[in-house]
């Protein structure tokens, strides 16, 4: 494999350096001054975007990993195989970055290992912590063949391939548990979380939306890879993902409406208000727009249309997680929360680091397997151009 040189300066690279530098500065600021001066968190509002976005959305956006490995290795849907590697890489990066972000948010981050020996099985957070830790290990094992292939470590490769099926099954179980449990985290606050979002079905909604986001994220990544690495999935794979996404979104919508009806909250949706408006934004982005888009054959079968539908889905469920973590908790707290610049800087740097590391890995590791090169010779030629332009 040819190792391309990196071009250090371009507009987006400079933006990235700025974002990373600002994030680093904010992190130093946070560790020297404490959480009070460096955030807008208070006794009334102890969880902000570091939990609402970095943790809740981070784990959700990494859901492509278990969705795809499950579909390919357990359900044996072979045509999705070419996208397993980039998806597993995104998932692995996602979980590592979530852990980094959590270290910034924790008041005593050096005690993050305590759940290993200090158990409280009644705590949802205890369970999520264990699942995330184990699942990150699973993702490392699932991604290991890529690194081992690169360095031609055949013996280790054979061992890892030998245990791949139980590893994939363990990954799907662990993901089912913690994706839903991030919803269960909020089951303890029936008196605090707004009734638009508090429901005993929280874990089911978090799990279903994780699958939708996993599919949307895969479409999104494919489009991004096409743009930046000249690699793109064959359209028929994207179409399959689009159809699956539409089905999951419809199932989610039906369950969501049924839930609002049975809890007698549907009437409140008609009354204008802060929470109502953000609920409508969430529903429009996550459900209405993508379902309408995907229901047109012309949209569903073009890369551009699928890209739009997936971006809308992603933005919609990010809004959903922020509504649960922030919007829905504000009224009972009696305060409004908006993140301080330091909180935004750290979060932006985490996202930026994710893009940067994925870009580097895409260049240096064989994450787009050979079959896809053979299957689509055109993008490969395009990639050669990209490589050359990077080598200048």
């Amino acid at each position: 494999m040819k190792i391309p040189n990196i071009r250090w300066f371009s507009f987006w690279k400079l933006v990235l350096y700025f974002v990373l530098a600002a994030g680093l500065y904010a992190t130093v600021y946070r560790f020297f001054l404490g959480l009070g001066p460096s955030t807008n968190l208070t006794d009334q509002f102890p969880w902000g975007i570091w939990i609402g976005f970095d943790v809740l959305c981070g784990v959700m956006l990494a859901a492509g990993g278990f969705t795809l490995t499950g579909a390919v290795h357990i359900f044996n849907i072979k045509r999705l195989h070419p996208i397993v590697r980039p998806t597993v890489l995104t998932a692995f990066l996602g979980y590592v970055l979530v852990s980094v972000a959590l270290m910034v948010d924790l008041g005593r981050p050096y005690n993050i290992w305590h759940p290993l020996i200090m158990w409280n099985p009644h705590s949802v957070m205890f369970e999520v912590g264990w699942c995330v830790m184990l699942y990150t290990t699973v993702l490392a094992l699932e991604f290991a063949p890529v690194v081992l292939e690169r360095f031609r470590l055949e013996k280790l490769l054979r061992i890892i391939r030998g245990i791949s099926v139980p590893v994939v099954i363990a990954g799907v179980i662990l993901s089912t548990l913690h994706q839903s449990s991030l919803g269960s985290v909020y089951l303890i606050v029936p008196t605090k979380l707004h009734p638009f979002w508090y429901t005993p079905l929280l874990p089911a909604f978090f799990f279903l939306s994780a699958i939708a986001v996993g599919l949307a994220m895969t479409i999104f990544e494919s489009s991004m890879s096409a743009k930046h690495f000249g690699r793109q999935l064959e359209l028929h794979i994207l179409k399959d993902l689009g159809r699956a996404l539409m089905v999951v979104l419809i199932v989610y919508s039906v369950l969501r409406v049924e839930d609002l009806i049975h809890r007698g909250v549907l009437k409140q949706v008609l009354v204008a208000g802060y929470e109502r408006n953000l609920l409508l934004l969430e529903v429009a982005l996550a459900l209405v727009i993508p379902i309408v888009l995907l229901s047109f054959r012309k949209v569903r079968e073009t890369p551009g249309g699928l890209y739009l539908a997936s971006v809308s889905t992603l933005l919609g469920f990010v809004t959903n997680r922020l509504n649960v973590a922030v919007t829905g908790m504000e009224a009972s707290a009696g305060v409004r929360y908006f993140p301080k610049w330091t909180e935004i800087a750290v979060t932006a740097a985490i996202v930026g680091a994710g893009f940067a590391i994925f870009g580097l890995a895409a260049k240096y590791l064989p994450i787009f397997p050979e079959e896809s090169h053979v299957a689509s010779p055109e993008p490969r030629a395009k990639e050669a151009v990209v490589v050359m332009s990077h080598a200048d």
């Binding site: 560790f31 009070g36 968190l41 969880w47 759940p115 009644h122 089912t176 089951l187 008196t191 605090k192």
Partner: protein
């Protein structure tokens, strides 16, 4: 048996001796400026709120089945059999889930520290274990805050309601709220006026979580065997197809 506090707001004269006693017991500084603060904080675990000539205390309710204890991932918070809900800082990793979970919004954080602790009233657990009453109850000059067995204090509260019709709001706050608390309140003005919510369910909040969490041990082997079974069927079909010499419809090599 479980100890408790009974606070009768109609006996309170707003002298704030309990605030002073609490600060002394917990080695917190206390002066006129802090006395004037009308909210609980990391340096003020109990506060006497005043509205005209009516008073009301706020402090940790030390719930019977506390949400904070159930959510703490490292069991840094614990409900002691004697009643107090205590906090062990050496276990804490600072996730602040206890603050999110507490229905009364009690736990406070040392936001300005680089090595922060959760702070709250722990019902003078050391004193209680030593057979003494809490500092606030001991110092109270009017008996508005009274320490004792929870069951006895409940009986006394009921008696006060019965013998003084019309004097009190007909409700013992903390008898049933979120499964009952170790702090019981009586008042002549609605509790809502001092920020106490009266719309709480009477079942403990940890039940909501446990209803889901308790299923996990059953769910894992079930989901695992289902996934394993699907893997077996989808791959077996392929082997059969291969053995019969028909090329798999979808083709592709692994």
């Amino acid at each position: 048996m479980s100890k408790a506090l009974l606070y009768d707001a109609t006996l309170c004269i707003g002298c704030k001796q309990c605030e002073q006693g609490c600060a002394d017991q917990n080695k917190l500084s206390y002066d006129d400026k802090i006395a004037a603060e009308q909210r609980q904080s990391d340096h003020k675990f109990t506060v006497v709120l005043a509205k005209d000539d009516k008073f009301m205390r706020r402090l940790c309710m030390n719930c019977n089945d506390p949400a904070c204890v159930s959510v703490c991932p490292v069991a840094a918070l614990r409900k002691t059999p004697a009643g107090p809900v205590i906090y062990e800082v050496s276990r804490c990793m600072g996730c602040r889930y206890c603050m999110i979970a507490c229905p009364f919004g009690v736990p406070r954080y040392e936001w300005n520290s680089v090595n922060p602790k959760v702070q709250k009233c722990t019902m003078c657990s050391e004193r209680v274990l030593a057979g003494k009453q809490t500092a606030c109850a001991e110092i109270c000059p009017t008996g508005a805050t009274k320490f004792g067995e929870r069951s006895e204090l409940l009986a006394e509260a009921r008696q006060r309601l019965r013998e003084n019709p019309g004097k009190y709001v007909d409700h013992i706050y903390g008898e049933n709220e979120v499964g009952g608390t170790s702090v019981l309140l009586l008042s002549s003005v609605p509790f809502e006026e001092f920020g106490y919510r009266t719309d709480f369910p009477s079942d403990p909040l940890p039940n909501r979580t446990f209803a889901v969490q308790s299923r996990i041990p059953d769910f894992v082997p079930l989901w695992g065997s289902l996934l394993g079974g699907i893997w077996w069927i989808t791959h077996r079909r392929e082997e059969v197809a291969k053995a019969e010499g028909q090329d798999g419809k979808k083709g592709g090599t692994k």
